[in-house]
């Protein structure tokens, strides 16, 4: 995505910046330095003006949020940002962790993924260790807290030339069980700034689904204890919020890309039988977003929701968001139910990359087939 009036997007505050708006600070003493006209003209890194300091003002800071920006912030081709939202227990962090893990470790993946800052590294490593080494789901993020966004750098091998490899910045905001009625200002900034909103739904938390599923399967879900309409209410609340902040009239449908991702799809695999959503994702193998497959999955999930009597939820989606901008996905972060109390079996994520590849296709990074 090209920014219209700016060169850079601050991955922290999602503020669009012009390169000249970036604050330059000394890499030794941290003192801000303004480049002279000559330095600007010659595109030289300004020297630190602090007496005695011989550093260069090579470090960059966001002039809005003062966050220290990566040194290569000006080199990114695209600035991706999306928010993962969902009620507590819907599996947001697990989904995000397995998605990133798959993206980094799948042999067929054409992308090289690396964290942009130490916080992202630490958070990812901790979550990755919990799931893949300790075989335990990531502990729930405390609701109401504002976790820092995860900042990733994607290098696209498929478009690499002898001299250049396209890079993208990816800011992912992993929510903390929002009800979207009382949204924290910081969270609202990410929601507002996200190109795509990923709404995670635990199917076991849907009343219609839960009523037709055996209790032992329901026990896998920690969000099943929510109010029956919690997911629908979240969608309504989110839509209201977007309307208010984007000046959209209440009667007008929102034109924002929404990936409605049903997690824990393995829990209802018997219902889906040999449907497309239960088949392995063809995207990586075919190196693109396979629209027919995505349409089939979308249709299957919608149809399944209807058959389960989840019209409230479907209505919440259809009456708030423009039809073409919403796509349903079915994923399973772990691929199989837990083998014991708080104990995962072999982690075999199912279709967790589908929403991301859809987003990349929207950005034109991957082709739509």
């Amino acid at each position: 995505m090209a920014l219209l009036h700016s060169d850079v997007l601050c991955p922290y505050c999602l503020q669009e910046l012009r390169s000249k708006d970036l604050k330059m600070v000394c890499n030794i003493c941290g003192t801000p330095a303004t480049p002279t006209k000559t330095e600007l003209l010659l595109k030289k890194t300004p020297k630190c003006k602090q007496s005695g300091c011989r550093g260069f003002a090579s470090a960059r800071q966001c002039s809005y949020c003062d966050s220290k920006l990566p040194s290569d912030i000006l080199d990114y081709e695209k600035y991706l940002r999306f928010s993962i939202l969902g009620i507590t227990g819907s599996g947001k962090t697990n989904f995000l962790t397995t998605m990133l893990h798959e993206l980094r470790h799948t042999a067929e993946s054409p992308w090289v993924l690396s964290p942009m800052d130490s916080i992202t590294t630490a958070v990812f490593q901790e979550n990755d260790r919990a799931i893949y080494n300790m075989r335990q789901p990531v502990a729930a993020t405390a609701a109401g807290t504002t976790p820092p966004p995860q900042l990733w750098k994607i290098k696209d091998k498929s478009r690499m030339t002898n001299t250049v490899i396209p890079s993208y910045s990816m800011t992912i905001f992993d929510g903390a069980g929002e009800d979207c009625e009382h949204i924290d200002p910081v969270i609202s900034r990410y929601i507002e700034g996200s190109k795509v909103l990923v709404i995670l739904i635990d199917p076991l938390a849907l009343h219609g689904v839960a009523s037709s599923i055996p209790q032992n399967i329901l026990n896998w879900s920690t969000s099943a204890s929510h109010d029956a309409d919690a997911s629908a209410d979240m969608v309504d609340g989110l839509a209201t919020y977007i309307r208010q902040n984007c000046g959209i009239a209440p009667g007008k449908l929102i034109n924002r890309d929404i990936a409605v991702v049903f997690t824990k799809i393995d829990a209802v695999k018997d219902t889906f039988g040999s449907a497309t959503v239960m088949q392995p994702s063809p995207y990586l193998a075919r190196k693109g977003f396979v629209k027919a497959d995505a349409d089939a999955v979308d249709a299957e999930i919608r149809d399944w929701l209807e058959s389960q009597g989840e019209n409230i939820f479907l209505d919440a989606i259809d009456t708030n968001f423009k039809k073409g901008s919403v796509r349903f996905f079915g994923v399973s972060s772990f691929g199989q139910p837990p083998t014991g109390s708080y104990q995962l079996g072999k982690v075999m994520p199912h279709r967790v990359l589908d929403p991301l590849i859809w987003m990349l296709s929207k950005e034109g990074i991957v082709p739509t087939l």
């Binding site: 219902t271 039988g273 040999s274 088949q279 299957e300 149809d303 399944w304 083998t339 079996g345 199912h350």
Partner: protein, 1043 residues
């Protein structure tokens, strides 16, 4: 001028001080109002001035009492004043007193009410002044002092009935007022004696009551019943113990005060706790019940004050004169111990003769346990002792002396009395004891003689009772002596009975000595045991009384007299005898004699002989190649073994034509070489015993033996197990055909038998009764069989020849349930293989697996050897359970050969492997099949219609599976072919050549859609089995909907 203390003015508690501010404020307000009212009504100027002054204290009062510190100072000041007042009062009370004064709790409460000091402060003050606080007087339990009202009332009412009853036989009934009077009249006393019966000992009264109770028990008349009841009450409730008698006495006294108690009950309640009234009443009661505490308890009981009893203010020591029963009071114990009765001058305390402590004269017991009340009977006991001595009744004299000693230990009179008794005993005891012993031993003849001697030499001795007994017994036996024509047996039996009465009656003894008892009947003998022999003799009695038996034994002969042989037992009363000192091989003769007064009967006799057999525990027999071998251990007295042999039969006991004596007398072993292989021989081994100049033979031990060529051990035994199938291979030592038996070993001792030749019949006992898994020939070189799953078993490989076998080896094999791959759940997802097990067999420890592709002509299935060479991947059961699968990635794009072999750890620690579970899956790229529908195009203003529908299926596959066109009857998307609502509207047949031009087109009849709702999704499905090779998807999902 000093002001009054504020606590005093307000009447508030000061010890401890009142802390409740509201209460203080209320008291101040009330005082102020009260004082102001008084001031308003007061006319006297001086008095008004006083009141005004007092009112002027108001503000200071509030100030002082508000603060804790000042309030406490004010309270403490008043407490000090009041304590000083109390001390002065105590000082006044102590004037002229000596000893340790006591104060009661009642007095402390009294002072508390007056001075408002706390009881604790008052008590401390008294203690400081040398007082001892007398704790609450322990209330006397009236039930311990009186008979229960029911019992007392019952006796009283019956006495009243008796008084009213006119009985001609007992004209004095109207004069009977209590049980003492009753005892007096029935004990033969007159009116003047009634008083003396009150002083009689309880035991005497009890015996009177008891004897009359027994007499009246059978009297059915009204008066009889009444008297029986009274005497029974006397024995069971009054005179049975000293305590009950005392209760009865006190109940009688209480009855006498009935009128006074009636007046006391009617007295005003206010008076009852008045000190003067109460103390006066208690003194009145003390006239009958001198003990103060009892009187106090009676007062409280009769005045109805049991719930809130009266307690005397003064702490006095109340005593009663032991002689005249006059009460006395003292302030201190020291005064009381020194005090004497004011009326008769008797000391109120006496010294306990036992522990020499001072004890109140009226006390029953001293604290050391000595019974003080018993002292009064001392003189009586002394008199009774002297009387008994005079009467020459030394037993009674000793008894009375013991009573006297108990009543007053150490009394001077006792030593003289004791000496007298001893002297009398020394003089008369020996002859008397001798006489008693003779009587006890039923030697009445001798006793009669001694009695005559004693009567002559000691005429003062009273021997009437002894003489009476002796004369009676002697008269009885004289009467019983048989006379006339009775048989000798009857006479003897009668004399035995007589001697049971009089042991030394000579005429009876003479008869018995002259009469021989009859010999025992039916003597029989039986021998038991092998190594240690026991002979049991038994016989029957003849009916002769007073006989004992003597058993005599003789070796090699029969005893004829009681001294002819060894006397085993004499004077036995039983009719049997066990002889345990027998030796085998010797003949014994037994004789049993009946014996009475050393007169023996003729003998009853029998003879026994036991020729022991060879002990089979020590007998070894074996049939070998052309020889039968025997070895043994001879029993005692046996001099050798004779062996008889027959072919195919057991030889008889005596040599005959069918048997051969192979040895006449072998000492320890014998080898019979005169036999042929494979023939069966019967042997009898008889023990040889010397008897006089010849021999005797035992019955003999028999055995059948078949000499034969021995079995040979198999060589190079190898076992192998796959799953449950066991294969055992061996090499035969030669070409001979022998049976090979493969048997389960259940005996731990079997290992020690490897290589040993054992009788085939002993296999069970040696290796246990396990299952036989195979029975084959040695030349077949192997045996195959299955064992149950999950079992570890030791197998003995036995080579059997004829009747013998040899355990060639013992091998251990274990079977396990195969670790099966779940063929439905195991599948390829993406580029991952997910292997799931159908079961988790018992003892499974690890899973070895491999996913291989075919590289040559050989199918790459894994074997147990591969596992042993560690060429397979390993996953522990725990890891498998944690993962829920075996995950293999990445996968080659080819046919995959999956082998899974279980590793099991058995209970004995051994490790075994299951055979491989195998599955082939294809991971070749799936053939793609795409499909779409076309419908009749809609018009400019209309949408597409459900007409002219064509299904176009495209695939480049060389062969295509069966494909189903499906919709769901409820209008939803069909997700699986097996859905009950799924309806197949068309089936594309399987094709070995693929679609023509890579496309299949099918035109649906228009009426197909008549029954299908508009908007119903359509999907194409293939069978699950085909999904490994084919992938089917719609190329235009929107077209797959019925318009």
């Amino acid at each position: 001028m000093d002001r009054r203390n504020y606590f005093e003015i307000l009447g508030l508690d000061f010890d401890p001080p009142e802390k409740n501010q509201r209460r203080i404020d209320k008291a101040i307000a009330e005082w102020k109002k009260r004082t102001e009212d008084m001031l308003a009504n007061e006319t006297i100027a001086t008095r008004r001035a006083v009141l005004s002054d007092e009112l002027s204290l108001h503000d200071d009062m509030i100030e002082t009492l508000r603060e804790n510190k000042t309030r406490n100072v004010e309270a403490r000041a008043l407490k000090e004043v009041r304590t000083q007042q109390l001390e002065k009062l105590i000082d006044i009370m102590l004037v002229g007193q000596s000893g340790t004064p006591e104060v009661t709790n009642a007095q402390i409460r009294n002072v508390h009410l007056k001075l408002k000091l706390s009881p604790k402060t008052i008590e401390d003050t008294y203690v400081k002044k040398g007082f001892v606080v007398q704790r609450v007087i322990k209330a006397v339990n009236l039930n311990d002092a009186f008979l229960t009202p029911v019992v007392a009332g019952n006796i009283s009412s019956k006495i009243s009935q008796l008084q009213a009853m006119a009985i001609p036989k007992y004209p004095w009934t109207s004069k009977v007022s209590d049980l003492y009077d009753l005892a007096c009249y029935f004990g033969g006393g007159s009116d003047s004696d009634t008083g003396s019966y009150h002083k009689k000992r309880t035991t005497e009264l009890y015996s009177i009551m008891e004897s009359w109770a027994a007499q009246f028990a059978s009297d059915m008349s009204t008066q009889g019943h009444l008297l029986a009841d009274l005497f029974t009450a006397g024995t069971t409730q009054v005179f049975n113990t000293e305590a009950n008698r005392k209760k009865y006495d006190q109940s009688l006294e209480r009855e006498k005060m009935k009128e006074f108690f009636a007046l006391l009950k009617a007295a005003p309640e206010d008076f009852k706790k008045d000190r003067y009234f109460a103390d006066s009443c208690i003194r009145t009661i003390q006239k009958n019940f001198p003990e103060y505490n009892l009187s106090l308890a009676l007062y409280n009981q009769e005045a109805g004050l049991m719930q809130d009893p009266y307690e005397p203010l003064e702490a006095l020591i109340h005593l009663t004169c032991g002689s005249c029963k006059t009460p006395a009071e003292f302030r201190t114990r020291e005064d009381a111990e020194r005090g004497k009765c004011a009326v008769c001058g008797a000391p109120l305390y006496i010294e306990c003769p036992k522990c020499h402590k001072k004890v109140p004269a009226t006390a029953d017991r001293c604290s050391c346990g000595f019974l003080i009340s018993e002292m009064q009977f001392f003189d009586e006991y002394v008199k009774a002792t002297e009387f008994a001595l005079k009467e020459m009744d030394l037993g009674e004299a000793g008894k009375q002396y013991a009573n006297a000693e108990n009543a007053f230990p150490g009394h001077p009179k006792l030593s003289a009395l004791s000496q007298r008794i001893k002297a009398e005993r020394d003089k008369y005891d020996r002859p008397l004891n001798e006489l008693k012993a003779l009587i006890a031993a039923r030697m009445f003849s001798k006793a009669q003689t001694l009695l005559g001697t004693l009567s002559a030499s000691m005429p003062q001795l009273k021997l009437d009772s002894q003489k009476k007994v002796i004369d009676e017994k002697m008269a009885e036996v004289k009467r019983l002596m048989p006379v006339g024509s009775s048989s000798p047996v009857d006479k003897a039996n009668r004399c035995v009975e007589i001697l049971q009465i009089v042991e030394d009656y000579q005429p009876a003894i003479d008869v018995l000595i002259s009469t021989r008892p009859r010999k025992p009947l039916n003597l029989s003998a039986g021998v038991m045991g092998t190594s240690s022999l026991t002979c049991t003799l038994s016989w029957n009695a003849t009916g002769d009384k007073g006989v004992k038996y003597q058993v005599v034994r003789k070796k090699n002969g029969i005893p004829q007299r009681q001294a002819d042989g060894e006397v085993l037992a004499a004077d036995i009363g039983d009719l049997s005898y066990k002889d345990t000192s027998l030796q085998p091989g010797i003949s014994y003769g037994y004789a049993v004699f009946a014996c009475r007064r050393n007169v023996f009967s003729d003998p009853s006799t029998c003879e026994i002989a036991n020729f022991s057999e060879l002990d089979t525990k020590h007998l070894r027999t074996s049939a070998e190649n052309g020889v039968c071998r025997f070895s043994w251990v001879l029993p005692p007295n046996c001099i050798g073994v004779r062996i008889l042999r027959s072919t195919n039969a057991i030889p008889s006991e005596n040599p005959s034509s069918g048997s051969t004596v192979v040895t006449a007398k072998a000492s320890a072993n014998f080898d019979d070489a005169g036999v042929s292989n494979n023939n069966t021989y019967g042997y009898r081994l008889q023990c040889v015993y010397p008897y006089e100049s010849s021999f005797r033979y035992s019955q003999g031990v028999t055995v059948m033996l078949t000499p034969e060529q021995p079995p040979a051990a198999l060589r190079s035994i190898i076992s192998r197990i796959e799953g449950r199938l066991v294969t055992i291979r061996w090499n035969s030592p030669d070409n001979a055909q022998r049976s090979v038996l493969i048997r389960e070993v259940s005996s731990n001792a079997a290992n020690s038998l490897i290589g040993q030749v054992i009788p085939a019949s002993d296999i069970n006992s040696m290796i246990g009764t396990g299952r036989t898994y195979a029975n084959t020939m040695s030349t077949s070189m192997q045996a195959q069989f299955e064992i149950p799953p999950n079992m570890s078993v030791a197998l003995a490989v036995i080579c059997v020849a004829g009747s013998k076998g040899i355990i060639s080896d013992i091998v251990r094999v274990s079977s396990v349930e195969k670790c099966e791959i779940d063929k439905k759940q195991t599948r390829i997802e993406g580029n991952r293989l997910r292997i799931t097990l159908a079961n988790k067999p018992k003892n499974l420890e690890k899973i070895h697996y491999i996913v291989a592709k075919k590289t040559g002509s050989t199918v790459p299935w894994a074997t147990i050897e591969d596992v042993k060479q560690k060429s397979l991947a390993i996953l522990s059961l725990k890891e498998y359970e944690r993962d829920g699968m075996i995950l293999v990635e990445p996968l080659p794009k080819a046919d995959l050969y999956i082998s899974v072999i279980g590793q099991y750890r058995m209970s004995d620690g051994s490790i075994i492997y299951s055979e491989a579970s195998k599955l082939r899956l294809s991971n070749k790229p799936k053939e793609k099949i795409t499909y779409r529908f076309t419908w009749a195009a809609g018009g400019f203003f209309s949408r597409a219609r459900a007409r002219n529908c064509k299904l176009i299926v495209s695939s480049n596959a060389e062969e295509t599976p069966e494909i189903y066109v499906v919709y769901k009857s409820d209008g939803h998307i069909p997700m699986k072919l097996q859905d009950p609502k799924a309806v197949v509207i068309h089936t594309i047949p399987e094709s070995d050549s693929g679609f023509t031009n890579n496309e299949y087109v099918y035109q649906f009849p228009d009426n197909t859609w008549d029954r299908i709702t508009s908007g119903t999704p359509l999907r194409l499905f293939i069978q699950d089995d085909d999904m490994a090779e084919f992938e089917i998807a719609s190329s235009d999902i929107e077209s797959c909907k019925v318009p």
